[in-house]
């Protein structure tokens, strides 16, 4: 019996086997890219309803980054916002019959976690310098260095597994129920899947923000209006 977790290439491009999550991701990328292009084609100072929704999304991403990192969200907006939107759309793609979310496969979650991992280190080194960043591993004491190093990998692993487990389990449960019950029975579970998918996307994005924010430290901390010089 074939494992539901195993991936079989749909086709090959050279040596690379193109699997379903990759194709779904391309579709998601195409959808988001095309949608963004269309949505931002006629932006105006006086916003339409669609533009207002778009600005609400961007503003929410910004405010989440600002509140979590206590820093200017501009450098991190694209990464965090893109991860959130990609995860959300991928999670919700399970609603389309026959489509299995890309995030239900660990390779996709690992890819995003890998990017977050690299981004954390890169921004940490960029902000603190190499010595400064490495010094964070010795906080609060040098005894913590092994634990901090382990934590660096385990938290990334937990990031992967949390998203993968939640989405994959939702897909499995709906699949099992579909095989056992009628056509309309899984609908409440699919609705619950929508909520789960949104929550998991939010958690993944927020945790990525927290990790990057911890690496960046307080150097990016913006000056609050109340702390400004009179």
């Amino acid at each position: 019996m074939k494992s539901p977790l195993s991936l079989e290439p749909l086709f090959h491009v050279g040596p690379a086997g193109i699997t379903e999550p990759v194709v779904v991701s391309w579709a998601v990328i195409a959808l988001l890219g095309l949608g963004s292009t269309l949505a931002t084609r006629r932006l105006s100072v006086i916003p339409s309803k669609g533009q207002t929704l778009l600005e609400l999304v961007v503003s929410t991403v910004d405010s989440q980054i600002r509140e979590t990192m206590q820093a200017d969200p501009a450098p991190f907006r694209a990464l965090i916002g893109s991860i959130f939107l990609f995860t959300l759309v991928s999670n919700w793609s399970s609603l389309i019959p026959g489509i299995e979310p890309a995030t239900a496969h660990i390779e996709t979650d690992a890819a995003m976690a890998l990017i977050v991992f690299v981004a954390t280190i890169a921004w940490g080194v960029r902000t603190r310098g190499l010595r400064g960043y490495l010094a964070t591993y010795a906080e609060p004491t040098w005894v913590m260095i092994p634990l901090n190093i382990v934590e660096q990998f385990t938290r990334t692993f937990s990031l992967i597994v949390r998203l993968f487990g939640n989405v994959m389990s939702g897909v499995f449960i709906i699949g099992i129920i579909l095989t056992l019950a009628g056509l309309l029975v899984p609908i409440p579970l699919m609705a619950l899947d929508l909520l789960t998918g949104a929550v998991q996307a939010y958690i993944f994005a927020v945790l990525a923000t927290v990790f990057i924010g911890a690496a960046v430290g307080e150097r990016h901390k913006p000056v609050a209006p109340s702390e400004k010089e009179p």
Binding site: S6, S25, L32, G33, E55, S82, I83, F86, A110
Partner: protein, 248 residues
């Protein structure tokens, strides 16, 4: 379970591409328009603040102008009040002066009228006295109307200045005015008395004038000597009239 590394790598690339696409086509334009709106709002707020400042300045200027106008109005009103007061005072002074003049004029008129009335009364009194005197003298005997006056007239001639006395009746004939025709005795008495007074005889003609009342008057073209009631009454009347004139 196994990891498909190709999928992992492709998904990593996919996510990075998505980040680039969304950064380029979603976040950048949306943030740009939001910034543009924020800038426009800030500009509008700035413009509004500038307009407000202008409005405040205009209002303050208007208030200042209003204050100036009020001050000017007060000054004009004060000046007008002062001018009106001065004009009123001047008018009052003029009116008072005119009233004083009118009163003085009226008083003068009244004085004149009273004086004229008093003069008229005096004249009437004098004439009445003359009439009384004339009527009383008329009751005297005719001799009394001449006799007693010859010596008096002679004394008057004697009291003339020497030059007048020497020339009196020297070149021309004198006229002796009497209230009635003189008797021969009276004519003789007159010649004698006049000759004694002047130291030489005097030629005269007798002229009767009842208006003399009593007494005699002798006159030449150059001199007149009177000793008569007419003269006395005339002097009294003149004295009374002169006295009234002093009162005026």
């Amino acid at each position: 379970m196994r990891i498909d590394w190709w999928t992992l790598g492709l998904q990593t690339i996919n996510v990075l591409i998505l980040v680039a696409i969304l950064a380029r086509f979603l976040f950048r334009p949306v943030i740009a328009i939001m910034d543009e709106r924020r800038a426009a709002a800030a500009k509008m707020l700035g413009d509004a603040e500038a307009e407000r400042a202008k409005a405040i300045a205009a209002r303050e200027a208007a208030e200042a102008e209003s204050g100036k106008i009020a001050a000017s109005r007060d000054a004009v009103l004060r000046e007008a009040a002062e001018a009106a007061s001065a004009e009123r005072e001047a008018a009052l002074a003029t009116a008072r002066e005119e009233a004083d003049q009118v009163r003085a004029s009226a008083e003068t008129e009244m004085r004149w009228a009273r004086a004229a009335e008093e003069s008229a009364a005096s004249d009437r009194s004098a004439r009445l006295a003359i009439d009384v005197a004339r009527k009383l003298v008329a009751r005297l005997p005719d001799s009394a109307r001449v006799d007693g006056f010859i010596d008096g007239l002679a004394r008057a001639l004697a009291s003339l200045p020497e030059a007048s006395r020497d020339g009196f009746g020297a070149g021309e004939r004198a006229r002796l005015i009497a209230p009635r025709p003189l008797t021969a005795a009276e004519l003789q008495a007159a010649h004698d008395a006049f000759a004694r007074a002047l130291g030489r005889p005097v030629d005269f003609a007798v002229v009767v004038e009842p208006a003399v009342i009593a007494g005699l008057e002798i006159e030449t073209p150059h001199a007149v000597v009177r000793n008569s009631f007419r003269q006395d009454l005339k002097r009294i009347v003149e004295e009374l009239t002169r006295h009234d004139g002093v009162h005026r």
